[in-house]
Amino acid sequence: MMATVVEGLEVGTQLPPMKIRFTRERLVRYAGASTDFNPIHYSEYYAARMGLPGVIAHGMLTMGTALRVVTNWVGDPSRVISYAVRFTRPVVVPDDTDGVEVNFSGSVSAIDGSLVTVSLEAISDGQRVLGAARAEVDLGVRVPHRDHENAP
C-alpha cells in the first residue's frame, strides 16, 4: 500500500483532486456532528447580521474536507502528523439543490526522509478559501531521492 504511494513520489507530484458540493444539508450534518451550532451556518438572518453575504460553511468543514485529498491518497489517516490552514474567505452556501462547488487539490511541496508535506488548495467561485494549507504525513518509509537516481 505505502509502496504504491512512495513510488515515483517527488516534489510537485499532484494528488488526485476532488470536486465537492456543499449544500445546506451538509452544513446541518456538520453542525450536528461537530456540535458547532453557530447560526451563521444555517440562518440567513444571523449571517446578514454578521455582515455576511449569506449562510456560510463552517471553516472546519472546509478544512476537514480538504484533508480528504491527503487521506484518500495515503489511505491510513493515522499517517497525518500535522495539518494547518488559514481561513481566508467564507464559502457561501445557497439554499437550493446544488449548493456550491468547492474544488480541492494537493501537491507534494517537500520531502524529508519519510516525511512528506502536501500543500492543499480549496477554490470556490474562483477564489481561494483556504490559505497556507499544509498537511504533513509520515509515510513510515523513506522516499527515494529521485534527483540522485536520475542524475546523469
Binding site: G64, P77, S82, V85, A132
Partner: protein, 141 residues
C-alpha cells in the same frame, strides 16, 4: 475590563473528560462525506479534524470568560493548526486544556492565539490544536 495583551499566558482548567465513541466518529466522518474504512467499526480512529470537536468546549471557556468581555457571535476562526502525536481512537477518554498564548489588538479587532492540549490517560499527549480567533470589538452592522 476587556481582553488585553496581558491575558497572554492565561491557562484554563481542563474540561470534563470526553469519551470518543465509534458512533460519534462514524457520524463525524459521514458529515465529511468520508467513507474511509478506518473511520468505521469498533476499533475506528477519528478523522484528524475530529480534534476540533474535543477542543471546542475548551475554546468556549475562553469565549465565555467574563473577564475578557468577548461576544461569541463576533468571533471568527482565523487559522487552525493541529499537531498529532497519535490519532484519536474509539474508546479514548480525553481531556482538553486551553490556554491563551497571545493577544494582539488590531484596529477594532482583537486577535487571540490559543492552544488546546488534548491528552489521554496519565496525561498522554495526543493532539495540540493551535488557533487564532479574531474578535470584532464592535458589532459589524
Amino acid at each position: 475590563m476587556a481582553i488585553t495583551e496581558a491575558h497572554a499566558g492565561r491557562r484554563y482548567s481542563p474540561i470534563d473528560p470526553y469519551e470518543v465513541s465509534a458512533a460519534k466518529i462514524a457520524e463525524f466522518a459521514t458529515a465529511l462525506d468520508d467513507d474511509n474504512p478506518r473511520y468505521r467499526g469498533e476499533s475506528a480512529i477519528a478523522p484528524p479534524t475530529f480534534a476540533a470537536l474535543i477542543a471546542s468546549p475548551a475554546w468556549n471557556q475562553i469565549f465565555g470568560d467574563p473577564e475578557l468581555e468577548l461576544s461569541v457571535e463576533r468571533i471568527v476562526h482565523g487559522d487552525q493548526r493541529f499537531t498529532f502525536m497519535r490519532p484519536l481512537r474509539a474508546g479514548d477518554v480525553v481531556v482538553a486544556t486551553a490556554s491563551i498564548d497571545r493577544v494582539r489588538v488590531r484596529g477594532g479587532a482583537e486577535l487571540i492565539s490559543a492552544t488546546v492540549d488534548i491528552t489521554g490517560r496519565d496525561a498522554e499527549p495526543i493532539c495540540t490544536a493551535q488557533a487564532t480567533f479574531s474578535h470584532a470589538r464592535q458589532a459589524v452592522t
